[in-house]
Amino acid sequence: MNSHTRSYGGYQQHFSGSTNPTIKNPTTQVPQSTQFNDRDCLNDILAMEKWLTDGFNVFAREASHQALHNDVMHILNETHRAARDVFNLMFEKGWYSLHPEQPEQVAKEHQKFQSYESQMPQQRTSPYESGGMYQPRQY
């Protein structure tokens, strides 16, 4: 929510005991008690949104006529966006941290799966050529 307009306090911070920088904002403090705090509220609603996307995914797949399918797909999309907004807000508050993978490891996996691409039935000359793009049926 408008988080791009606000400046983050330190995008990458080094934490003791880790050689890798952790991607994390300074933690917004919440009371550490049995009381349900703001962080618990967001965690609760995030869990609920995640659960809803599972439900609507099945619903969209099973819907009979097209108009119903379209509406359920729309709701599924917006539910994903709501979950995303909550996740981003929690990240902004410093309640989520990310650990970047080692670039060498990423390069290794990239190379591996690049070599596997020769097993694809449709051979392409350039990596982003859209020759085999799926064409939906017209009604």
Partner: protein
């Protein structure tokens, strides 16, 4: 087989705008999910102290109310294609 009984021009290329029993079950399930989530987000918003968190939760509550209305509309029988030939047999 259907192929012999119906001429080609009456063949449906996709399901008509009619609610199946399964659609109805999913819709009623989804409506109760949306109602619960809208109420829960509104309740959580009232429990929060941070304004940004409060606002986010209220927005989510409103979103689920919108979703509730979209789904509810599908249970409104005037939206359905009762005149579709495939549906004739199911009318009282």
């Amino acid at each position: 087989m259907y192929r012999d009984r119906y001429p080609q021009q009456y063949r449906m290329n996709q399901p008509p705008r009619v609610l199946s029993t399964k659609d109805c079950s999913y819709l009623t399930d989804a409506l109760s999910w949306e109602l619960l989530t809208a109420k829960k987000a509104h309740f959580l918003a009232s429990q929060c102290s941070d304004q940004q968190v409060k606002q986010q939760l209220e927005q989510i509550s409103q979103l689920h109310q919108t979703h509730y209305d979209i789904l509810l509309n599908h249970l409104n029988t005037t939206e359905h294609d009762h005149d579709h030939f495939g549906y004739q047999g199911y009318r009282q």
